[in-house]
Amino acid sequence: MKSGNDILVVEDLKKYFPVKTKGKQELFVKAIDGVSFSLKPGETLGLVGESGSGKSTVAYDVVGMYSPTSGSIRFKGREIGMLLRERPLPLKKEIQIVFQDPGTSLNPKRTVYKILELPLRIHKICEPKDYVKYVARLMDLVELPYEYMFKYPSALGGGERQMVAIARALATNPQLIVLDEPTSALDVSVQAKIINTLLRLQKEMNLSYLFITHDLSLMRNVASRVAIMYLGKIAEIAPTEDFFRSPRHPYTKMLLSSIPVVSPEEEKYRPERIESRGEIPSPVNVPAGCSFNTRCPFAMERCLKEDPVPVALDAEGLHMARCHLLEMRG
């Protein structure tokens, strides 16, 4: 993986959470176990996975809610693997997050104006007399009417609340926004509006998005690159076009063939039907070898013992997958 103008570089990131010990041996939830990726300015990386795959932990590590167990996270060349309270203020300004549920991420006791004013105050974005003007500008960005300034989050619909959360993230002029399933609690017609707003803002402000989701069909339409996570590791990562044209990892194929689609054209994107079976194992008890071996229809003896390393599947090394089958094919 080349870095140069990459805005965010994550290398061999690990995050273990200790869980209650049984006997002497201490147990860990290996939420992330060696994840590497990078993000260019103006790019969207879709981080896709089932629940328990560690995708949100990656997001929280990047914004500083957790500090990594090992590995590095570099933002514009600077190491940022420290906890949030140790991060310098200017750095916090650059990286913002939008959470899944705006019902709990917005303070119910504050009006929309108060919510949007707080980051301006903390980061000294503008003079106090200009707060109103600035808040109005933020509301313009997400196309909310000005009278909403005096409403409380409880008076807004789910989609509008999420727009407020997005406006709050934009208040500090960040370069990187982590989107942690921003639309999975919303209806599709509302989702469509939010996604279109996010795409427009990205173009206007050259934002980079780290988009966490479980929805592959959404990523097809939003992301420039897609990474599939399984049990704390990236199973496959590729540019979107390439990813959907020729998925290589058995897990990716299983995911793609499980998606309910609405048209025959889409069915062509699920060419080899891989029957979904089994469930994602507990991250406390990760299977030895390749972590997917319990569900993989192609599992071989080698998969039970050896964890595969990422294999580059194209000349530039943009399409990578971790599977012994692909190693053999070269």
Binding site: E50, I195, D215, L216, S217, F244, S276
Partner: protein, 335 residues
């Protein structure tokens, strides 16, 4: 609506012009606005719509498990030819014990946390009225068989487990096993896979479809996902703000949906084949306190005409078996 009259006898459920409102602090919310729906024997239908459109209210009315605040303002619900709105307590008990079973969205809330899976399944069988229902041995046999048929591994051990010891997908499969442990005329599945991951959803839907077919029950599946409806249902109803706005066979609907709302909804779905997402449907669901007197979609509709404001359009049959509640299709699809 008049199209299937000859098949009337085959209808397990027939909802006619149902109006339901809910009492709130601010008055009554008029939620269901003349719902018509029917399910034939062995038929699998899906009701698709967004949050708050009244899908759950419709099926809760069918199962007669509406909240106390609900008031039926008009209409009829026939279950196997009998009006279930006029049933007494004993008949209703019978209806729920052996007629209809419901699979809810959240299995952790619908399973009792302090009883084992085996106990809970035995209870369902005990009240079902099948032969030997009160015999613990029969209950056990039935339970094991039901769990096995739902492809759950190691049923004997599973029966000793409590719900919290199982994963989300397993719990939902238990609910499916439970709802089909004894013969049922109708199974209602209310967003059964919304909380599940896509690979697990695939497994659960497959089992649900398979089991309903084996047991020759009818199925009403509620979902907000058109894709899920397409996987499971023979026929689909699209619901908006308390009205069925369109119904058609699954294949027909996905070939061409007609109602402006269905079209808007379809264009919002992110497709695996790419091509971007439409900009959404402008506006909001109308307030149920004072809904528009005419078509409830009129305020958001790109094709709204003056007459749409006056009266709710009836169902027009635009193509055989494809009905749309929209004045655009008064003269079939040619309009």
């Amino acid at each position: 609506m008049e199209t299937h009259i000859k098949e009337q006898d085959n209808r397990v459920v027939d909802v006619k012009n149902l109006f339901i409102s809910f009492r709130t602090f601010k008055g009554y919310t008029k939620v269901l606005n003349g719902v018509n729906l029917h399910v034939r024997r062995k038929e699998k239908i899906a009701i698709v719509g967004e949050t708050g459109c009244g899908k759950t209210t419709t099926v809760y009315a069918i199962a007669q498990i509406l909240a106390k605040q609900a008031r039926v303002d008009g209409g009829e619900i026939f279950f196997k030819g009998r009006d279930s709105l006029r049933m007494n307590e004993k008949e209703l008990k019978q209806l729920r014990a052996s007629g209809i079973s419901v699979i809810f969205q959240d299995p952790i809330a619908s399973l009792n946390p302090v009883f084992t899976i085996g106990d809970q399944m035995a209870e369902v069988i005990r009240y079902s009225g099948i032969e030997g229902a009160r015999d613990p041995r029969v209950q056990r046999e039935r339970t094991v068989a039901a769990l096995r048929e739902t492809s759950l591994p190691d049923p004997e051990r599973l029966m000793e487990n409590y719900p919290f010891q199982l994963s989300g997908g397993m719990r939902q499969r238990i609910c499916i096993a439970m709802s089909l442990a004894t013969p049922r005329d109708l199974v209602i599945a209310d967003e059964p896979t919304t909380n599940l991951d896509v690979t697990i959803q695939d497994q659960v839907l497959k089992i649900l479809r398979q089991r309903v077919e084996e047991k020759q029950s009818a199925l009403i599946l509620i979902t907000h996902s058109l894709g899920v409806a397409r996987e499971v249902a023979d026929r689909i109803y699209v619901m908006y703000a308390g009205n069925m706005v369109e119904t058609a066979g699954a294949e027909e609907l996905f070939r061409e949906c007609l109602h402006p709302y269905s079209r808007g909804l379809m264009s919002c779905i992110p497709k695996l084949s790419g091509g971007g997402i439409a900009s959404g449907i402008p506006g909001h669901l109308p307030s149920y306190y004072a809904p528009p007197p005419g078509c409830r979609f009129e305020p958001r509709c790109p094709h709204a005409m003056p007459r749409c404001k006056q009266a709710m359009p009836p169902m027009y049959e635009a193509a055989p078996g494809h009905c749309v509640a929209c004045y655009l299709y008064e003269r079939g699809t040619s309009a």
